[in-house]
């Protein structure tokens, strides 16, 4: 099967509409957003920048890496900030489910990485090939040895499609094979497969592995939207949707109150759940998927539409380094060993982690980065100043859970699974137009503000 970089993104997608990005327009926009008037309006309340000549390396140019870089530039005067990442395209991953269900065109989730790299940051367009934290060095895929005083690990995660025998990411979109996670081209291909499937209906198999996932709501959103697209096409009645998860009985989501609500909705939609049932093999040509129980019992099922959610783990470069957890439940996945409150590495105090790579109980979402990027930048600044990191993260994350086209629930929760709505009037389990509007219109502008280090 084809391997992809870091968190499963290919370096340069070749997509219709994406390649025609108007560079000139973007330059004007960038210049405009940097204008003094704009800066004056949009800047956070000013605080004096701390003078330092610290060398800070950030591994990864996703939301976490760029957001922390933007903030460090504002908080530190004289620091050298370097981002290492080969990816030329920045993916707005929260939009993948919208692309994969025919709501958004793909160009809404694609931007040149260069548009978001903050002025003043040195960008090395290579991948990190090796972390050597004992020597305070990273080695790039081009062989450069980059020394640092402080390191922020923001590599994202690895989509481990290789664990599913016969799975070929390149085959997504054909023969009913779908997977929203693999990147923008896979999201487009997933919509191609779903659009074809809904015309006639048939057997849909939806999957969810056990273990840490980024945007754990995405498999649920896809299931809701498959049902909705069938309903719209008038083919739901002659279709069957089966949801297979590696999780224990009556579990499809980690927050119980949300889990129970989703199960009740699925029951009303006639969706059938299968627990402790892990997708282990697929034969795309024959349209057959094989599931295994924890006891090793295997069952092969035919399908007309299969949505594959791959197991996820840390990229090898982290997993095989001394930065990974050595013990605890996060060790098998090779996740970054950070303190869940300060996001500081537990053994290397000059290392912080942000985003999907963190070995923390929950929160592999853009919303988690929104809330934790200011904290990481602050705590890192504290460490540079010789102080202890004093800001503590509560594990905030958020999931605008689409229940059908036009409606969603805005669910926010913390490490403990406690619902934590940002605004008191928001009812998390209330399906609503506002939550939908936020998902389709407001969250990308918020995301861009996070990239710019403003919110």
């Amino acid at each position: 099967m084809k391997q992809r970089n870091g968190d499963g993104r290919s370096p340069e997608p070749d997509l219709p509409g994406a390649a025609s990005a108007d560079l000139q327009r973007r330059r004007w926009l960038r210049a405009f957003s940097a204008a003094p008037l704009v800066a004056g309006m949009a800047a956070s309340p000013a605080t004096a920048a701390m003078k330092t000549n610290a060398r800070i390396v950030i591994a990864g140019s996703g939301l976490g890496g760029i957001a922390v870089a933007s903030r460090l530039l504002k908080q530190l005067d004289g620091a050298s900030v370097t981002i290492i990442d080969a990816r030329q395209k920045h993916y707005y991953q929260p939009g993948f489910t919208l692309v994969a269900t025919g709501v958004w065109p793909v160009d809404k989730v694609l931007d040149p990485t260069a548009d978001f790299i903050p002025a003043g940051v040195k960008w090395i367009p290579e991948m990190v090939a090796e972390f050597a934290p004992a020597a305070n060095v990273v080695v790039t895929s081009g062989g450069q040895r980059i020394a640092y005083d402080y390191l922020v690990v923001a590599t994202g995660l690895q989509l481990d499609y290789a664990q599913i025998e016969g799975m070929d990411v390149a085959a997504i979109g054909r023969n009913g094979l779908a997977s929203v996670y693999a990147g923008p081209e896979a999201a487009v291909a997933t919509w191609t497969a779903l659009d074809a499937f809904r015309q006639k209906g048939g057997q849909a198999l939806m999957t969810l592995p056990a273990g840490p996932l980024k945007c754990a709501g995405a498999p649920l959103k896809m299931t809701f939207m498959v049902a909705d697209r069938l309903q719209q096409a008038g083919t739901l009645a002659n279709s069957r949707i089966d949801f297979h998860t590696g999780l224990p009985t009556d579990t499809v989501f980690g927050v119980k109150v949300v889990n129970d609500d989703v199960l009740a909705r699925w029951k009303a939609l006639g969706i059938h759940n299968h627990y402790l049932s892990k997708l282990v093999a697929v034969d795309p040509g024959a349209r057959k998927a094989t599931f295994a129980s924890p006891e090793g019992q295997r069952e092969t099922l035919g399908y007309d539409f299969l949505h594959v959610v791959p197991p996820m783990r840390a990229p090898d470069v982290v997993k095989k380094s001394d930065l990974a957890w050595k013990e605890s439940g996060f060790a098998p996945g090779g996740w970054l060993e950070v303190d869940k409150a300060t996001l500081q590495h537990r053994r290397y105090k000059n290392v912080f982690g942000i985003g999907d790579i963190n070995g923390t109980p929950r929160g592999k979402t853009a919303a988690t980065v929104k809330k934790s990027a200011p904290l990481v930048a602050h705590n890192l600044t504290q460490v540079i100043a010789g102080r202890e990191p004093d800001a503590r993260f509560d594990g905030y994350t958020s999931c605008p859970l689409i229940v059908r086209e036009g409606s969603a629930m805005l669910i926010e929760f913390d490490y403990e699974g406690k619902l934590t709505p940002s605004l008191p009037m928001i009812e998390p389990l209330q399906e609503s137009y506002l939550a939908w509007l936020m998902k389709v219109r407001m969250l990308k502008p918020a995301y861009v503000s996070v990239l710019k280090g403003r919110v």
Binding site: L29, A42, G406, S432, Y433, L434, P445, S449
Partner: protein
């Protein structure tokens, strides 16, 4: 406070993404206002009903059409927060309409000299 700051940034980034349209509207507003203010006899008082009527029309139309323009429907408004959000957005469009119509109507309905 954070949520207000976040909302301001969302509005700002939304406007920035549509900056050509925003720029045109600002120029039209500035041009109309300048023209109306610099001409003697502009009928500001009689322009108000026109501006408010136009704003109300646009507000109502926006209220009715915005859900479907955002791939939803009025039927998806399930509780008061949804209605308040939609009303606020419709009000915003109405305000812009009023701002454009007021100087225009003042110009067109010049008082007899």
């Amino acid at each position: 406070m954070y949520e207000i700051w976040l909302m301001l940034n969302i509005v700002w980034e939304t406007l920035l993404a549509a900056w050509p349209l925003v720029l045109v509207l600002l120029l039209v507003f500035a041009g109309l206002t300048w023209a109306a203010l610099s001409r003697r006899g502009a009928a500001w008082r009689t322009a108000w009903p026109v501006a408010l009527g136009g704003a109300a029309t646009v507000g109502v139309l926006t209220f009715l059409a915005l859900p479907s323009l955002t791939r939803s429907s009025l039927g998806e408004l399930k509780y008061w927060v949804d209605w308040l959000t939609l009303a606020g957005l419709a009000g915003g469009f109405a305000l812009v309409t009023a701002a454009l119509l007021l100087p225009l109507a003042a110009l067109l309905k010049r008082q007899p000299t």
